[in-house]
């Protein structure tokens, strides 16, 4: 069936600002939106730029705005939209556009690095594993689904107003380590994000949760961090301080 795609274009070599270009193509109802973009690129316009790799929602390359909503282009099919086969495709908001649908993700990953995204332990001889019960692990399970696609951070209205705010994706990764029963740096992690640029930047507006392509309850996870920060202020520390 015939589909119409209106795609945001920006070529830094010639364009001063973005513009929209229309393409018409034949697509199946079960085609992914990524398939449609590929068809445009292979059959009509090889200059169209966007990121993609695994094409089944696990590598996190192809978050973009499809008909006004942030989606992974490889995880949405033509039939998932009720817009009369008309599609408007735009780059992720928040980030600056490099070319067409490709945005600069460096600020996103800089914030990711900031939260110390690695397990900090007291060390253990390499003979066996840390024990961890399934219930302890179930707490962090939602955060393990994260594919770093940046949909949540791009959607967050606080992030748009305050560039310093760490944003939902980085905080979700902080959550993953704070609540990992093996991690020994809970206290200092909580101190690090106990600020308006940290976890208190979140006003529970839930846009992150709404757009997450992996169904992660991001707002809820951030809420769990907030509660722990408050508890820490009131009660004894979980981590002995030097």
């Amino acid at each position: 069936m015939k589909c119409s795609f209106t795609v945001y274009r920006f070529d830094p070599a010639v364009d001063k600002k973005g513009r929209y270009q229309e393409y018409t193509l034949e697509a199946e109802r079960t085609d992914k939106i990524l398939d449609c973009l590929n068809k445009i690129r292979w059959e009509q316009d090889p200059t169209l730029a966007y990121r993609f790799s695994c094409a089944h929602g696990i590598c996190g390359s192809d978050a973009m705005v499809i008909n006004g909503r942030i989606e992974l282009a490889c995880q949405k099919l033509v039939k998932d939209f009720k817009t009369g086969n008309n599609f408007v495709i735009e780059p992720l908001p928040l980030f600056s556009v490099i070319k067409d649908l490709i945005v600069d993700m460096n600020p996103f990953f800089a914030k990711h690095r900031h939260i110390r995204p690695y397990l900090i332990t007291a060390g253990k001889a390499l003979a066996e594993e840390f024990l961890q019960d399934a219930a302890q692990q179930a707490v962090i399970e939602p955060a393990l689904r994260c594919i770093l696609c940046a949909s949540c951070t791009a959607a967050c209205p606080i992030n748009r107003a305050n560039g310093e705010y760490l944003g939902p994706a980085a905080l979700l990764r902080a959550f993953r380590y704070i609540f990992d029963s093996r991690d020994a740096a809970t206290d200092s992690r909580l101190v690090q994000i106990d600020s308006p640029e940290g976890v208190w930047g979140c006003k529970s507006m839930r846009w992150c949760t709404d757009v997450c392509p992996k169904g992660i309850p991001v707002t809820k996870c951030l809420g769990q961090i907030k509660r722990l920060v408050k508890q820490r202020a009131q009660g004894p520390s979980r981590e002995p301080r030097p």
Partner: protein
Amino acid sequence: MKHEYDIVIVGAGLAGLRAAVEIGGDTRVAVLSKVFATRSHSGAAQGGIGAALGNEEEDHPEWHMFDTVKGSDYLGDQDAIEILTEDAPRAIYELEHLGVPFNRTREGKIAQRAFGGHTRQFGAAPVKRACYAATRTGRVILDTLWEQSLQKGVAFYDEYQILSLIIRDGQCGGVVAYELATGKLHTFHSQAVLFATGGAGKIYKTTSNAFASTGDGMAIAFRAGAPLEDMEFVQFHPTGIYKLGILISEAARGEGGILLNNDGERFMERYAPVIKDLAPRDMISRCMLEEIRAGRGIRGQDYLHLDLTHLGQAVIESKLAEIASFARTYAGADPVKDPIPVQPTCHYMMGGIATDADGRVVVDRAGTPFPGLYAAGECACVSVHGANRLGCNALLDTLVFGRRAGIEMQRYIRATGSPHRSAEPEKKDADRLRGLMESKGRERSGRIRAEMQATMMDKVSVFRVQDGLRAAVAKIKELQERYPQIAIQDKGHCFNRDLLDAIELGHMLDLAEVIILGALYREESRGAHSREDFPARDDTRFLVHTLFGYDAIRGPQIFTKPVKITRFQPQERKY
């Protein structure tokens, strides 16, 4: 632009990052990747990583070794397989200490589940050997190793496409790469280079592999003088989603899922009475195609059903979460209620750049190293997978041999002086790219790619026969002749995907030719290589590795080397 490092790693999947974690901090390391590091295809690995921890039931590295040898149809080198399986428990504990969130047993230990071809007591019954994190095992290991690499100060060059190796006096001294965002060429001088560039599934029409899996490292090393080993062994995973090829992990069968034909029959009981649906991948893919040929595909079509409905929602949501979501999104099937339509999908290259067990690229039968050049992971052939890889052994391969390559590179650079600098090493690549960009030809890479993929799928997939292979090699040669006529329509320098497509296609055409030549040479059926005109395994003639060296004038030149057999003599392979 010029850069200088001690070691350059190409590829940011598990093999590359495991090496980076090993040597980062002490050594100046750069990791180059054509996609952002966490987008690497290792992240798509679902079901698990094999190690005889014995957390769920009795298990031993020796059993794991035997299964791997038998799974390889006796083509794997047993000394390397022993290293792999003996080192596996250490590799798992190490990952756990780095933070990988493995699923847990009731006692809080790392949980394990059954996987194809993994057995107790040398084939007696399936054993739970696969350590896993739901069905996102690769993804969480990838994230963990990436985060560890950042902490160790490894320099990442994301979205850099490698073009060639810098070689002077037979010694590898760096790489030339193309920066996607700017179109600029970069030279990276180093004392050693590790290729960890992954597979090449995109040579085939239906594949579980990512768009990035185009075999760049294998093809570039090949042209630089490194032989490719056992390339005819291409794994077709039994359960790709019908028409799409998206992987439904073997874990689905490890947890109790079964394959059904149109009669509702669990047909694997007939072919592998002992381990049934947990037979190795080569065997199940063949059986599935036999069923389809016999008219027992679903509604007479070319697919079968993977049935998980008896597992219950709780198991599906907790242990098979991602694949349940894939089935719902892409096949419109809810695995809690509906069977999933599946067919075999191109999944893994058993062959690759010939290396020894320390990641050194070797150039001949005697195992002479290519100074400064290393390879690990899917792009390498150690060989631990032989003619057919067992599920769960790929992640293990990347971790064990990625680490060993790291250790060996560090030893090498301390013992060896810097290679002599080449003058303008990027000039050849600059000329080649200019040629492509200015070509006035009428070909499109998309068209040639589609013809290559169709040919390979049709004639060089699970079943092969001499006439078909001859036709395929003629077709690939025709495509190679048309290749220089490709015109790049995108004249820009920022994320020029059109140009990248053409570069990748050149690599894939080289590899396709070697795959077919190997398949033609090997007049027997072994593991994933199934010749209909030679249905039996022939240990007298073909218990050898096939290797091809590059020759610009005469075409790929074949030689063979013996298989290393230490503990398990070849026997008939039954399950």
